[in-house]
């Protein structure tokens, strides 16, 4: 049994909240509140307020001042710490490039 249109819209909006993806959140916030429901609409608004803007992370911009090999090695060293790697990817919006 395939999804109804109502479910499709709500699930895509849920994905936007779960990923803090700004572009998707902007799409979700333009959907009808009757379809989304109060709880989800509230979560979308809250997530949009804190969603990172890809390319405008101060941390990412600061690392560009480092020599290329330091960036290269640093990006890989961070992955020794999975929690830190996930937080950095999500906090900077870099992970949206792969969605």
């Amino acid at each position: 049994m395939s999804l109804s249109e109502y479910e499709r819209v709500r699930l895509r909006a849920c994905g936007a909240v779960l990923t803090s993806n700004r572009r998707e959140l902007e799409w979700a916030s333009s959907q009808s509140p009757e379809v989304l429901g109060d709880d989800l609409a509230h979560e979308i608004a809250a997530a949009l307020a804190g969603a990172p803007i890809p390319g405008e992370s101060r941390l990412v911009r600061a690392t560009t001042l480092l020599p290329a090999w330091v960036q290269y090695a640093g990006q890989r060293a961070v992955l020794l710490f999975p929690g830190l790697a996930r937080r950095l990817l999500r906090g900077t919006g870099l992970h949206h490039q792969r969605f």
Binding site: M1, S2, L3, E7, R8, R10, L11, R12, A13, C14, G15, V17, L18, T19, G37, D39, L40, H42, E43, V60, R61, T63, T64, L65, L66, A68, W69, Q71, Y72, Q75, R76, V78, L79, P82, G83, A85, R86, L89, R90, H95, R98, F99
Partner: protein, 472 residues
């Protein structure tokens, strides 16, 4: 136990990296293996997708690693990706790698080919392979593959040239400077001829801006509304073995967003460019032939089958024959013949359809099929159930469920699996829809496998399965 009486079939595993933003051409490319190997059991495994323990002992006859996986080689996560499914490749009869864009970060690709003991490498680059693959070139078999092929099926009907509203149309991306001056040439060529055509009174729609690009079928519709399009081989001229030049250029452009190519070259890679020419045929050659659009191409060799003035209008490298090209564009009858000739050479000949890709990749590698394999059957069943959520229920549920796993169960692995999510609307809705469609078991299995997965714990990305409803 009943003996297995099924006829032996080759077991072919295609490892891919489909994601929600993958282009249709990538999906067509993957599906071609199932379509053109009808006697083989072709299965598709996403490189991120975990494999249950009972499937890990599979012994495929052939493993094909697609370019979308290999294009992750510059990702910091590449060391983790390299280890994923390596044991499966180790037990496979043969391993084939399909490379694209191998003109940069090539050392990472070359090392991977050696590490996975790849038997055959398909690459669109047929010059300077010893520069790109200094280790593999000694022991591996190389074959030339194209970056695009013609999909089987009826040729679309498009209007004749004189009924089209646009004279010259094209979309070209401004290529990043870390690929060198040669990569910039395509956009320069398109803008130069667009300016000349506009000045001569033609209707022109040429753009290098990303926001003007067409997605999906809109691109073909646009091409079929243009009388002429312009092109050349794509490629790069800068050798950047592990991508350090790329990193340096990206950093410089972040600080100097308006910097021009010459300045970037001086600061980031002085004296390194134009020592090599890594070029490949663009898939647009075929798209234009299918759309019945007359091609204005840089005069060079195209697969040994296209002749200037017979199959395309040649443009000299120094634009010295621009007036001749513009004059030819006014002769619609002659150009219509060129269109027909190009379509015969590229489409009707069947020389460049996807069956050629499959033959190039697998020809001579599939010997006698290996016998029944319980682990393989378990994998087939697992992949079918995984794809069911996507194929039968909907991509939105598939994606949202994986996002939920990423956000709730991997980011905070100590959070209990289900009941506590009632407080969170997004999580609650996803779980309710999963329950409503009978997909909870799939979800619980995915949580269980991903929660200990080293790659999943680091990368909050999701995968897409290859659609099971198409391709045979």
């Amino acid at each position: 136990m009943q003996p297995d009486t099924r006829p032996a079939r080759h077991k072919v595993l295609v490892i891919h990296a489909l994601r929600p933003t993958s282009r249709q051409t990538t999906i067509d490319h993957l599906l071609s293996f199932r379509e053109h190997l009808p006697d083989a059991d072709v299965q598709y495994l996403h490189f991120q997708q975990p494999v249950p323990p009972e499937c890990r002992e599979i012994e495929p006859d052939l493993v094909v690693v697609n370019y979308d996986v290999l294009n992750f080689r510059f990702s910091p996560l590449w060391p983790f990706m390299k280890r994923r499914h390596r044991e499966i490749a180790g037990r496979a009869g043969k391993v084939v790698a399909i490379a694209q864009d191998d003109f940069w970060a090539n050392k990472l690709l070359d090392d991977w080919c050696m590490d996975w003991d790849v038997d055959r490498i398909l690459t669109p680059i047929d010059t300077d392979r010893d520069v790109l693959y200094p280790r593999s070139i000694r022991t591996k078999e190389f074959r030339t593959a194209l970056t695009g092929y013609v999909k089987s099926g009826p040729v679309p009907v498009t209007p004749p040239l004189r009924d089209r509203p646009i004279d010259l149309g094209q979309r070209v991306r401004d290529m990043p400077p870390h690929l060198g001056r040669l990569a910039q040439a395509k956009a320069v060529q398109a803008v130069t001829i667009a300016d000349a055509a506009r000045a001569a009174g033609f209707v022109v729609d040429v753009s290098t801006r990303v926001e003007d690009s067409f997605l999906g079928t809109a691109w073909f519709d646009f091409l079929a509304s243009c009388r002429f399009t312009v092109g050349m081989k794509g490629g790069a001229s800068l050798h950047d073995p592990i991508g350090l030049v790329h990193t340096r250029v990206d950093s410089f452009r972040t600080r100097h967003p308006d910097a021009r190519f010459d300045e970037i070259e001086t600061k980031c890679f002085p004296g390194k460019d134009m020592k090599h020419e890594f070029t490949a045929i663009s898939p647009r050659l075929f798209e234009s032939a299918l759309a019945g659009t007359c091609q204005i191409l840089l005069r060079e060799d195209y697969l040994g089958v296209l002749e200037p003035w017979r199959d395309y209008i040649p443009l000299e490298r120094d634009y010295s024959n621009m007036e001749q090209v513009l004059t030819a564009m006014r002769d619609h009858d002659r150009c219509q013949k060129i269109v027909g000739s190009a379509r015969t050479a590229l489409v009707d000949s069947g020389m460049f359809d996807y069956s050629r890709l499959v033959e190039t990749a697998t020809g001579g590698l599939l010997g006698r099929p290996s016998g029944p394999d319980v682990a393989w059957d378990a994998l087939v069943d697992h992949l079918r159930r995984s794809a069911l959520v996507f194929d039968s229920v909907g991509s939105e549920l598939h994606d949202a469920a994986l996002h939920l796993i990423n956000d709730r169960f991997l980011a905070r692995p100590r959070v209990p699996v289900r009941p506590d999510h009632a407080a969170d609307a997004a999580g609650r809705i996803v779980l309710e829809v999963l329950d409503g469609h009978g997909m909870s078991q799939w979800f619980d299995e995915a949580v269980s496998m991903l929660s200990t997965d080293p790659l999943a714990r680091r990368a909050p990305w999701i995968w897409r399965p290859v659609p099971i409803g198409t391709g045979g």
